[in-house]
Symmetry: D3
Subunit: 316 residues, 6 copies
Amino acid sequence: MDLVTFGETLLRFSPPGQERIERATELEFRAAGAESNVAVNAGRLGAATAWLSKVPDSPLGRKVTATLRAQGTEPVVARSDAGRQGTYYIEQAGEPRGANVVYDRADAAVTTATPADLDTDLVADADYFYTSGITPALSETLAETTASLLERARAAGTTTVLDVNYRAKLWGPTAARGVLESLFPDVDVLVVAERDARRVLARDGAVEEIAGVLADEFGFETVVVTRGADGALAVHDGAVHEQGVFDADTHDPVGTGDAFVGGFLARRIEGGSVPDALEWGAATAALKRTIPGDTALVTREEVEAVLAGDGDGIDR
Amino acid sequence: MDLVTFGETLLRFSPPGQERIERATELEFRAAGAESNVAVNAGRLGAATAWLSKVPDSPLGRKVTATLRAQGTEPVVARSDAGRQGTYYIEQAGEPRGANVVYDRADAAVTTATPADLDTDLVADADYFYTSGITPALSETLAETTASLLERARAAGTTTVLDVNYRAKLWGPTAARGVLESLFPDVDVLVVAERDARRVLARDGAVEEIAGVLADEFGFETVVVTRGADGALAVHDGAVHEQGVFDADTHDPVGTGDAFVGGFLARRIEGGSVPDALEWGAATAALKRTIPGDTALVTREEVEAVLAGDGDGIDR
Amino acid sequence: MDLVTFGETLLRFSPPGQERIERATELEFRAAGAESNVAVNAGRLGAATAWLSKVPDSPLGRKVTATLRAQGTEPVVARSDAGRQGTYYIEQAGEPRGANVVYDRADAAVTTATPADLDTDLVADADYFYTSGITPALSETLAETTASLLERARAAGTTTVLDVNYRAKLWGPTAARGVLESLFPDVDVLVVAERDARRVLARDGAVEEIAGVLADEFGFETVVVTRGADGALAVHDGAVHEQGVFDADTHDPVGTGDAFVGGFLARRIEGGSVPDALEWGAATAALKRTIPGDTALVTREEVEAVLAGDGDGIDR
Amino acid sequence: MDLVTFGETLLRFSPPGQERIERATELEFRAAGAESNVAVNAGRLGAATAWLSKVPDSPLGRKVTATLRAQGTEPVVARSDAGRQGTYYIEQAGEPRGANVVYDRADAAVTTATPADLDTDLVADADYFYTSGITPALSETLAETTASLLERARAAGTTTVLDVNYRAKLWGPTAARGVLESLFPDVDVLVVAERDARRVLARDGAVEEIAGVLADEFGFETVVVTRGADGALAVHDGAVHEQGVFDADTHDPVGTGDAFVGGFLARRIEGGSVPDALEWGAATAALKRTIPGDTALVTREEVEAVLAGDGDGIDR
Amino acid sequence: MDLVTFGETLLRFSPPGQERIERATELEFRAAGAESNVAVNAGRLGAATAWLSKVPDSPLGRKVTATLRAQGTEPVVARSDAGRQGTYYIEQAGEPRGANVVYDRADAAVTTATPADLDTDLVADADYFYTSGITPALSETLAETTASLLERARAAGTTTVLDVNYRAKLWGPTAARGVLESLFPDVDVLVVAERDARRVLARDGAVEEIAGVLADEFGFETVVVTRGADGALAVHDGAVHEQGVFDADTHDPVGTGDAFVGGFLARRIEGGSVPDALEWGAATAALKRTIPGDTALVTREEVEAVLAGDGDGIDR
Amino acid sequence: MDLVTFGETLLRFSPPGQERIERATELEFRAAGAESNVAVNAGRLGAATAWLSKVPDSPLGRKVTATLRAQGTEPVVARSDAGRQGTYYIEQAGEPRGANVVYDRADAAVTTATPADLDTDLVADADYFYTSGITPALSETLAETTASLLERARAAGTTTVLDVNYRAKLWGPTAARGVLESLFPDVDVLVVAERDARRVLARDGAVEEIAGVLADEFGFETVVVTRGADGALAVHDGAVHEQGVFDADTHDPVGTGDAFVGGFLARRIEGGSVPDALEWGAATAALKRTIPGDTALVTREEVEAVLAGDGDGIDR
């Protein structure tokens, strides 16, 4: 495997047409989670990817695995008789309502996942291993398992990637910082939103300074800071690389960050430089914004068309 | 209020057109629960009804209360920041697949409901109070609260009704029997499916004997035994009353039992005799089978048409 | 034109999946009416047909004419700035609920249609002219216009067909009988349901006697009595012809009678004998029951397959 | 009750996805009307509200009352065997097509509503009474009933609110002005769109002058002039208060004015000052534009978030 | 007939809501093609139009003819037992994904259409005959048939119109130029996109020069050059006429060019001048962009409203 | 792999709710084909399966592979720039309309598949290889490739299975017999419908005789004759085994035969006897009939429940 990811995938319920949940009579039904999003996104662009997790042995767990398999990653899961399938509900709207997420993910089967439940050899044999700060936030067991997998990966020479991905509905910034910084020594590539770098990791100053200081302090090979509409920036081998965004008409913004990471990693996996990979990340992210659901269900050709400045118009 | 009920209402997800959950991309979205079903069903036929419960203060809890209010009962609820909104998933199909229910209701807000959370005066002031054996199965707290509400109702002269409503996915027959029999002293009207009378209450013999013995042993004013396709039977004041079923083309069988109870209680509330109420119950149940969702969203005129032998054909 | 019909076409609203109107959040949206149904049905089988009427000059009127044109008849209409577009709502369900129709058709534009509004030459030039007892029930103006068109058709040698089509929600049996019998002198072919022959035309006795007596009394060339599940019977030139029904799995029963008439007339138009036409009527009616909406959206080949005893199974 | 409103609620049919009515095969099905919109909108923000009206005793009337009850106001209605349920059809599109409304509301049951049909004590006991200029436009009876209710409210010390809400498809400006000005003496709070102030009330000059002159001439306690994208302005106790709009990505603009009034009144009811209430009105109106259907199906917390400058983004 | 068009109409499949084809579980189902679009669009504005073609004798062919008839043109078709019904799939999205078309139209029944299959008298009797450069691109037979029909039309005094309509997925620019230029001698009115004039017809210089040179070289009565967001320009009788675009919120851009031509021709047919017709074309095109599907399903009144500067807002 | 299958998978379009194709405005969109159905069905019950084929490199080809992967088999495909993606349209209805299939599969990419395009080692390494008589009917190339794959499988010791699966819309019985009998020498297990044994293979006599004679003549290890409502019969090692059907409420009958084969092979693969496997086939087939689409999207537990006589009712 080129890339193995580990984390929780949720069932996603959303009312059609900006309808409100309380009045909806039908819900769109998808499956999504940061780590499986990244596995799917990188898989679409050519990487061989797998997603490690634990799901209930039920139609709900099967909905998750069938969805991921269809989209292009291999779910490698423990199936459990205990524990729930986590879900979330999302209402999406423009200004001033914005999008609102209601999580219903407590006590998911995955929160009890230990290394013994998981095919950890897959992690050791992979080129890259990715997880996000959501995973250790879900339970103490998962925090330990995350640490263990990062350690195993690092020991096996697998490049480890951690996206801070702070979720205020899951934990507070202080708790998050404590757990995440304890994981940093086993992380090669850190991805962090500028906002999280400031409010969770408690860094300040210019964004390139923040990236540089983090890289120095924890010995990261690469630090990628994502900046929303301002693009992204990476510090790698002491050099700073900046990347703007590609214009996009946003249909569904959820998962834009994971699309960026998926595009970035897919390109790094096939040997692309960091600036090249940042560009792939940005193009994948822009395409994602036009697609419903959390994943960038795109092709390599579409990413290349964005990079070439094509796209838009009617291709006929 | 003529009738107050107490229990849990779940969000109900079901794939359209006999589709399987694992492949569905949209789900029908309703709200349903035995006790609110009965409140709705009796309310449709003319009774003033309310449903007592505790729900999360979220779009999910609001979906529940909006649904019930639209259908014709008044939700009187505590809104809580803690606890989930229980849900269930149902796939419906004909033979040999049948219907399959996946509950996801653990740790619902309602499982922590104590008498202090609830408007218990409403129970005391009502003519009838109804709950089912599902409620005490959900948590120890709810078992205690159920006992307390039955006691309060009994003390206030409110007629109390308990439907055994055994759910094998919630508890075992022995545990159920223990808890339910401890509630029986405060129950005036017992409703029990013949199958539950045998496997849970551990009674045997002819169904009229079972009803008679139960009435004698626990001092029930009325015992109603429902028998599926064989109709129903009641023992009341020592007399046995039998009731057949009305023919129905089944579109959605879920909630047929609650429709029977709703029709029965609505008629009892307005002074109908037990045999008369059994007939109303049977007619309401037959109509229910033609309606999607768990409730008998009917009118009094429709029930009367069934009793009069009308219905079917095109009314134009 | 082989066949010209005259009457009202309504917009038809129906909730999907046996849902109730009061809870539906979307409605299926069609257009239907006895006379346009017959024009469509006969047109599908090869006759050149047109439908005469008056509709509002609005998107609602255009929905009616676009629907009919798509299905295979030519709407020849006056477009009016005054008057409503009639509608009806239908909930369909099996026993014991049956189908329920809510008409909202008062003050439709068509109720003011006079011969001056209509292309009456089309009637005079046609081989057959058809209308139903619904049309004169809608307004006094329409009763007069119906009489006038029948008279014009008769004078021009066009074969005139009247289907009694009694609607209890529009008028009482006595009023209906008075108006309809005043039209009978200009009618060549009478179609009447056995039930209407008894309750509206106040005939009794065996069904063949009723048909014979009506034919004699009013000088009808043909009397067709439809008998639901018992098939149909015609008296023509003094001979009695009986026709059974073809088995059908009913998906939507509305319009079955119009399908029968459409099939019957299409076959008569191309020179089929009365018994042959009865068989075509029965086959078209059976196919109709499998099709949503009020029309028999079938092909000639499908009718022939039913007559040949094919159909059912998977044709691949 | 804090607020009682009086008027007509229509069934609303709209094609999905900017489709045209003439080609649509399904329609979204809602219920909406200025006065019930205001009752719902204020009810969502904490006021106890009721809507007075008269509806047909049919599934169509029940659709209206069920919808309102679900959304958070109490329908207090006479149910009638005569009279239609009014409807409207709306096609929505961007420039240059815009939105087009087809009314089909003549002869609705409500047009015959007299004070004797209505629970007028509810009006007398309320803090606020609201109706709009649509109501007296519907029939002479309704014009009289509106006058009678305003008079009754005024006499009982209920604060009366009238929104001019001119509808060119219902009456002409001169007729409207005559009827509305005859009602003004019993009105405490006048709401009027700047455009209607000019073309219907025939005022000119700067908008603050118009408001001031109207207040002086008719003795209104408050005059609120709504100005579309330019916000709103109120004259109250001789002071002028201006309010801008909050940015909004418009999904459905219908009902924006009613959302403004609902927010304004909800805040006035709980003691807010006029400028404070204007701000609540503007925030509620902005949220409305993101929600399908005519009502601002929002929560108090969402309005407060807009006032606090939150909203937008993904809240997770 | 005022206008007869000739060409292929395809079934059009599109996923709802910007979904991707590979994940869609339902597809919107329409019928569309340049020549039938123009016939529909002109027909909506008052011209009597027909569309000539050849379709398979199957439900798929009937879908095409029923759709066109409903929208307002008369399909005059040969029905064939051999040959496919062409289809296309379209995914629509904003930047940077754009719209993507997958054609599946090889070996369609129409590709074998010879003059003997078609009602060529209709062409000779019409005022205008229109086809596009798509038609001769589909097969050699169609290239010959197109030439033959243009010749027949020209000989009969029918004004002939050819829209270059280059499709890169069908043929290369050189092949296209060769075939199209061989048709030009029988063409009165040439419509060409500026981009196609340059890349296919290999012209350069300012757009008015291109139009003028083409008119001179081939003796066109009129040359219309469409320029996307820059509007259009015509050279007619030596004079140059320019036309800007009307603002439009684009819902579905496909068919904008055909809407322009339909509006232009409808106005020319009723005697409008070239500049007047350009304005009608631009207004029809702007309306089209708000409508799903390939046709401008508008009314004459709506076009006039755009020309008058109305539109937008809510008309109620 | 336990089972490798080879053949064509089609996109499947079907109108919802028994609607007719010519009037449908949306179509359900699935992917299905005999050989991938069998691979999915056996895969669901525990076998490791793959499907070999050739698909266009387009969103249409990706729809096919994503669908199969989601359902539980591994597509191992050549992706081609030439050739279409085959499709079929199906209208389903009850008597007398039945189901009607319109194939649009000519010139599919798969019709050019040669052994060089395919991963034939997968066939050689598998325990079982399955294809059907549809595959060689599609093109001469495919007939040769089928022969070659059967030969390769036989040579490698893979058990070969051929289902006659005669399609009258693809070829005539004589042509079919010639090609199929040329393949029989490399076939171990023959599956044939009784009807096809008679009309295509031209056998007569009692069904057990037919099976026995075929086994003897061609040296089949097993001959399974499927008999619709009469169940199935196998001859194996000289013994005759009969199997009845399990009762089923049919929702979608398409694919019942493939479900039978999938269940039969899954059980044979895990070592079940022929009679045991017949029972598994029958149970899987009965479940299939309750599921929309062509595949038996079931679990092993559901098949076991049917075998145990459970199923039906509500499991809660």
